[in-house]
Subunit: 364 residues, 2 copies
Amino acid sequence: MKIICLQENLKNNLNIVQNIIGKNLTLPILNNLLLESDNGRLRISSTNLEIGINTWTSGKIEREGAITCPAKILFNFVNNLPNKKIELEAKNNILTVKCENYKASIKGLSADDFPIIPKIKNDPIFEINNLCLKEALMKVSGCAAVSESRPEISGVFFSLNKEGLKLAATDSFRLAEKTEKMEKIKQDHSMILPQRTAQELIRILGEKEGVMKVILGSNQVLFESGEIQIISRLIDGQYPDYRQIVPQNFITQTLLNKEEFLNAVRIAGFFSSKVNNVKFSIQAGKMEILSQDPDLGENKTQIQAEVKGKEMEIEFNYRYLLDGLNNISAKQIFMGFSSESTAAVIKSAENDDYLYVVMPIKIS
Amino acid sequence: MKIICLQENLKNNLNIVQNIIGKNLTLPILNNLLLESDNGRLRISSTNLEIGINTWTSGKIEREGAITCPAKILFNFVNNLPNKKIELEAKNNILTVKCENYKASIKGLSADDFPIIPKIKNDPIFEINNLCLKEALMKVSGCAAVSESRPEISGVFFSLNKEGLKLAATDSFRLAEKTEKMEKIKQDHSMILPQRTAQELIRILGEKEGVMKVILGSNQVLFESGEIQIISRLIDGQYPDYRQIVPQNFITQTLLNKEEFLNAVRIAGFFSSKVNNVKFSIQAGKMEILSQDPDLGENKTQIQAEVKGKEMEIEFNYRYLLDGLNNISAKQIFMGFSSESTAAVIKSAENDDYLYVVMPIKIS
């Protein structure tokens, strides 16, 4: 293989593929990237056996061929080269990289031993603007369960129907749901995307404009945008019918200034005890936020609130509230309560695109 | 004690004092700050028994008195308050802090048990612009020995004579020296400042303009600037006569573009083996930088150099070179070699204010 390409293009694509590669001692080829000439372009691929990534870089193919080489050293080297032409040449499992006065010879492994990244040939089930997808993933993925004891909630749930696309995640203590309106959806679909893939998509999407095609395979999904493909396994199982825990009727409804509320919750967190509990007392025209730690002391903040319905006291884990509030960019938020012991809803006062549902801490 | 002051002033001063406080389980009062009315101002003090810090905040003293309270919770609380008037009131070892609709009661300890921060009453041995001191400390302190096996080189050496002030630090593998010209120095002085104090000074000096007075006690030093005092113990012992290892005559002298050299060394580092060794081959008009790792591969970069004297090959720990080069802001640097097995000197091609001396790795 002998290929000439531009440093900037190569650097960008190496940055996309390299992140999923860890340090694999039992299967050293998983530390490597596959570089291969592919119809007049250079294809670079990586895999951790759960996620596979392909990118294509334009360049001049002087000799067809393929090699694999350690991801980290190639990425570091190319990253520090000037933005000039780079010559990549593979011979006897050594990749030689030349750029102006810089030269490196990197020990590789045969391309024949690189794991096959599956191909999915179906039609896209939907297309979505890259930045919309990134934002939606950022707003929900933090709620997915960290433990794998219930694998079906350890990922982000995508459900597609004629109203559009809903992304949801929950760890059973709180739930986030983001809705993207979509037209021309022909068929309902759903899938559970592993949290790791969601994180990788967020990273790769960065500030990249464009459109992502989402193509569903039997137990895999392909995200394709321009010259990037991300192929991931899906989580097997039935996602819980989370809609049934989202309260529809409220005994108490409040409208709050988001920044004021966020700051009060943040401050209350400093004084909260080990279970992170903070008490909210909702009264006519105001909310009091109280927290107490037997060793440190206590804290009380009062904020203005438009309150409808009955007065109440309820406790939440302040960290869950912060997570939700940080995902809402509205000036004013709605917070609705159905009882002292059932889930509350937080959302923008203006729209329902993003719902955050949080369980209270039961006061014994 | 009852004092009213502005949030911003209080926040800034809490930020200055709180950083030296760790989590002390055996002596809980060391987790606390001392707040005390002091001639119409609020004095806040902290100590870790090695470093003590005093700051003064202007405000309205409504009742004299003192209290200590945990640093972290007070800092976090005040940091998140609006920039308005804050009322601090101490009663029965509880500090109540009020600001608009926010209120906290923090459990404190009696001020009587707070360790005494020593006072030093001498005249300053010198004064220095804060940003000059910060820059000088930043450029040398990283070279101080990390281990305490030779305590005398685990700090920054200050030496003052009629030429000015020199700051130096070494871990016996490399040495950095920064010179500040000064006039009106009446008497020679020297001291070894602990690395931790140097780091704390760098942090506190931040972008703070003004002048620092340096006042020497018997085994302590006081840095005083405006309403801030930092009192530190000094390291006992004789600092090595480092001037004798700084080579004065060179068999090979080179002038190099700093950025090119820095980048070549950085890249060589990726390919260097476990002892971080990189080989430098100096020839007429050029320098070759070579590194090799038996598992990864090898790298060669060639850069232009003005070379005087004989050709030579020498190896260095690339990390030590990066540290030194990153501290020099010149476009062109001088690197002088006295032999393959003795220290080399790196400095700006234009001046001698900053010297970086590095020992080679002996080629066996």
